[in-house]
């Protein structure tokens, strides 16, 4: 992998696709977060729209369902003045047997400038980035268990907003880590941005021990994982990805790994609680925590729009 250039960067080291946070230099991540700050203030204007992507066509290709992510990408693209085309791809061409690359070739012939791709298979956005025309940009909106880079970046934006600096932070990522592309993206981003300690917290069946090789502290004990944390990122228990006997039951999971006010009291008194949504109330997070004073779950959604505006405007402005 190291011998090949990162396919997300051009020869000048500028971002042309966003496929994964893994391998992106700190300067690129910081540029995205700084630019997002500029876009956040667009919400305060009378005209909540800027002309940077005027005349560009952005295709939302969601091979897997998502309401929130697709909507926030759509809002972000529209605030940048792009034309947005949403394809219900799972029900149309793919269902008729068209291959992924044929779909892309057809959409490219419709003069697409950017693809926002969610796919159940890890690596699908890479395949598209490799085969699309040089002027076309690709954003990964979640691929299999692999990566969800814009979620990772909006999580970083949220942490920086509340905690200012990563250097002294203890961040606990809690729950179903093995199935979570969000966890993977968060861990890569946190380690690039220099968080002091990253903890992966959950049962042995859902928290792989090889995370230690990434410098992560693996905690199979909830109290140990939460103690003195500055940031607690709760993950959704992914019922739809769960097959076989990884867990006895959701209720059993909630008892040991669900975040309640009592467990949260172990973290620092000014800790923030994050969740990528949608939340399973009473499973991984108690309503009292989700709606409580430490929760920044809804600001995450707002920041997500600004972060996606930043990503799309940065990649659209760089040439392959």
């Amino acid at each position: 992998m190291l011998s090949r250039r990162n396919p997300q960067l051009n020869a000048h080291g500028e971002l042309i696709h966003l496929l994964s946070i893994e391998g992106l230099p700190k300067a690129v991540l910081t540029q995205i977060l700084d630019t997002a700050g500029t876009f956040l203030s667009v919400n305060d204007r009378e005209v909540k729209k800027v002309p940077l992507l005027r005349g560009k066509s952005i295709f939302n290709l969601f091979f897997e369902n998502s309401t929130r992510t697709r909507t926030t990408f759509e809002i972000a693209a529209k605030r940048l003045s792009a034309d947005v085309i949403n394809l219900d791809i799972a029900r149309s061409s793919a269902a008729k047997g068209e291959s992924l690359l044929d779909t892309i070739a057809n959409l490219s012939a419709m003069h697409a400038d950017m693809f926002v791709v969610r796919h159940g298979e890890s690596g699908a956005p890479y395949l598209i980035a490799q085969h699309c025309a040089p002027h076309v940009h690709v954003v990964n909106a979640g691929d299999g268990r692999h990566a969800h880079p814009t979620q990772g970046l909006l999580d970083m934006y949220t942490i920086r907003h509340y905690k200012k600096d990563f250097s002294g932070l203890v961040v606990a990522v809690v729950g179903d880590i093995v199935h979570s592309r969000v966890a993977r993206s968060d861990i890569h981003a946190l380690s690039t941005l220099g968080a002091a300690e990253i903890r992966a917290v959950g049962p042995k069946t859902l928290v792989p021990g090889d995370l230690r090789e990434m410098g992560v502290r693996v905690c199979h004990d909830m109290a140990e994982g939460l103690r003195d944390a500055d940031v607690v990122i709760m993950l959704r228990l992914q019922n739809e990805r769960m097959s076989g006997a990884m867990l006895p039951s959701a209720a059993e999971f909630a008892k040991s790994w669900g975040l309640t006010p009592e467990k949260l009291a172990l973290a620092k008194s000014d800790a923030i609680v994050m969740h990528p949504g949608p939340i399973n109330r009473g499973v991984e997070i108690d309503s009292a925590v989700a709606d409580g004073a430490h929760s920044v779950i809804l600001p995450q959604v707002t920041f997500g729009i600004a972060v996606r505006m930043a990503v799309m405007s940065i990649i659209a402005g760089n040439e392959a």
Partner: protein, 168 residues
């Protein structure tokens, strides 16, 4: 010899202060263009004894060279601590050249409302306009070769200095 070597930014600032004093309506507001113009507006606001802070405006989101240059990596952002609709705006910038920044900034301004009027005062007008834009006041008018870039800097004591660099 390079005429630029004689550009005394502090002396020009004194000229600008006088020009702005006579241009600015009592109900008008100062808006400095990031970054040099913002420094000037901040100091003008104090030297004119005006209460409140001057506005800052950035051209980033309306630049016409986005397609070729992409997003700038800067953290500059527009901050307008007053209503724009119906107000008399005096834009302040350090160097006026092609006029493209001013065009972008006027578009940016209109995203916040419809001003009653917009005027422009600059420290130096270096000619080379590519758009029909003229300042209401310029402390100096000079002609510079296109290869030279004129930049305002601010030292630790807050004093202004001009520098001329050859562009690659």
């Amino acid at each position: 010899m390079n005429a630029m070597l004689q550009l005394d930014a502090e002396a020009l600032y004194a000229e600008l202060l006088g020009g702005v004093r006579s241009l600015l309506k009592p109900e008008g507001v100062l808006v400095g263009i990031w970054s040099g113009g913002a420094w000037l507006a901040e100091r003008l606001q104090a030297d004119l004894g005006r209460s409140g802070t001057a506005g800052v405006i950035s051209s980033t989101l309306h630049r016409d060279d986005f397609g070729s240059r992409g997003m700038a990596a800067g953290t500059d952002a527009t901050k307008l601590p007053f209503a724009i609709a119906g107000s008399h705006i005096l834009l302040i910038d350090d160097v006026l050249y092609t006029g493209r920044t001013i065009r972008a900034v006027i578009n940016e301004l209109y995203d916040f409302g419809r001003p009653a009027s917009v005027q422009l005062a600059v420290l130096v007008d270096r000619g080379g306009r590519e758009l029909p834009i003229q300042p209401a006041f310029a402390a100096a008018r000079v002609v510079l070769p296109a290869a030279q870039k004129l930049t305002l800097a601010r030292d630790e004591a807050g004093r202004f200095v001009f520098s001329v660099r050859e562009q690659a």
